[in-house]
């Protein structure tokens, strides 16, 4: 009879131990997250411009706020602008022109004078939801060129939620 009691106690102990092991091994993690309902959105129109043909040191530019950027999000956005040569383009961009080196400048928004955009510039420090900013681009041809093929550049308009 005594042995049976011991057997019962051992059975209870083993059940408890297995229960503990199962609890320790169980995986019931949850992840919580908070999404602040901010919609980021930006459009540019038109998306194209051809500066055409030019001679050494020539300038060509748009006028009258040719490009329009709109904040289609639901909160203020900071808008940046930067130009870079496309892959395979032989001309580079810099603050002043040179051999195979052109200049791209922008005017509009917070850029109250023609500003080189070979590095990132703030076009508008705070563009309200639904608001627009217009800008123009100017392009100066290199002082000399090793190519007479069309050269392509991309102007990137970046929108960041204003902090």
């Amino acid at each position: 009879m005594k042995s049976r009691w011991i057997a019962l106690c051992l059975a209870i102990l083993s059940t408890t131990l297995i229960g503990t092991a199962v609890t320790m091994a169980s995986d019931t993690d949850t992840v919580s997250c908070t999404a602040t309902f901010t919609q980021l959105g930006v459009t540019v129109s038109p998306s194209n411009y051809d500066f055409g043909f030019g001679q050494a040191n020539d300038w060509s530019n748009t006028s009258g706020g040719y490009f329009e950027v709109q904040n289609t999000g639901n909160r203020d956005e900071k808008i940046y602008i930067e130009a870079s040569p496309d892959a395979g383009t032989q001309w580079s961009l810099a603050a002043t022109n040179g051999d195979d080196t052109a200049v791209m400048k922008a005017l509009g928004g917070d850029l109250t004078s023609w500003t080189s955009i070979h590095t990132q510039q703030t076009l508008k420090s705070s563009l309200a939801s639904g608001g627009t900013v217009t800008f123009d681009l100017a392009f100066q041809f290199p002082s000399s060129t090793s190519t007479y093929d069309p050269q392509h550049f991309t102007v990137t308009i970046s929108a960041v939620a204003a902090s």
């Binding site: 009879m1 005594k2 042995s3 049976r4 011991i6 057997a7 019962l8 106690c9 051992l10 059975a11 102990l13 083993s14 059940t15 131990l17 297995i18 503990t20 092991a21 320790m24 091994a25 995986d27 993690d29 949850t30 992840v31 919580s32 997250c33 908070t34 999404a35 602040t36 309902f37 901010t38 919609q39 980021l40 959105g41 930006v42 459009t43 540019v44 129109s45 038109p46 998306s47 194209n48 411009y49 051809d50 490009f67 950027v69 709109q70 289609t72 999000g73 909160r75 496309d86 392509h152 550049f153 991309t154 102007v155 990137t156 308009i157 970046s158 929108a159 960041v160 939620a161 902090s163």
Partner: protein, 190 residues
């Protein structure tokens, strides 16, 4: 009548060509991303999908590829620092094709190693959403967006059970069950 047919076909071809080129020449191009700020209370030591839908929308007048990538922040929300390793975060899909004004839902996947030094941290990483240019496309002005992902890790380092704790418990339980079975079957065993 038959002589006019080739001219009519050629005329239609040129008109069609002009119409096809018009949207790409002066079309609007844009991107939306929701949510612009995503705050996550993260768990460490396992990979999981964050249960928050992220919607990328096309504001383009033509179909295009869109790309999402994680980048170091250009500035930080107060109290946050840069996520130590950008490979800890990824999307369920990071490159997809959207028709004009189409939308795509993706989710964030996080896998932060479970190390003591990663507890009680507030990290920030940015999502860079890009509208891709088409091959050989002359589109010159391209928009992109940067959204914030804020990650907070648990404040307290947990008391860790060693790797052998569970097997030892199971072994002891099995031994106890075996002995109890023996005692039950043959109570005279000493």
């Amino acid at each position: 009548m038959r002589k006019r047919l080739p001219y009519a076909i050629i005329s239609i071809f040129f008109v069609a060509l002009i119409l096809c080129n018009l949207p790409t020449a002066n079309s609007k191009i844009g991107i939306t991303y929701v949510p612009g700020i995503l705050k996550i209370k993260a768990k460490l030591g396992k990979e999981y999908v964050v249960p928050q839908k992220i919607v990328v929308g096309s504001l383009c007048d033509d179909p295009r590829n869109f790309t999402l990538e994680f980048v170091r922040p250009g500035n930080y929300m107060e109290g946050y620092t840069c996520l130590p390793n950008i490979s800890w975060v990824k999307f369920t899909e990071d490159r997809f094709y959207l028709r004009q004004h189409g939308k795509k839902e993706v989710y964030l996947i996080i896998n932060i190693p479970d190390k003591d030094e990663y507890y009680n941290k507030k990290w920030e990483v940015w999502v860079h959403g890009v509208v891709e240019k088409k091959p050989n496309e002359r589109t010159m002005v391209v928009p992109d967006i940067y959204a914030r992902v804020l990650i907070e890790t648990p404040t307290k380092v947990p008391v860790r059970s060693s790797d052998i704790t569970i097997p030892v418990l199971v072994a002891i339980a099995c031994a106890a069950m075996f002995i109890s079975a023996l005692l039950y079957i043959n109570p005279k065993v000493k």
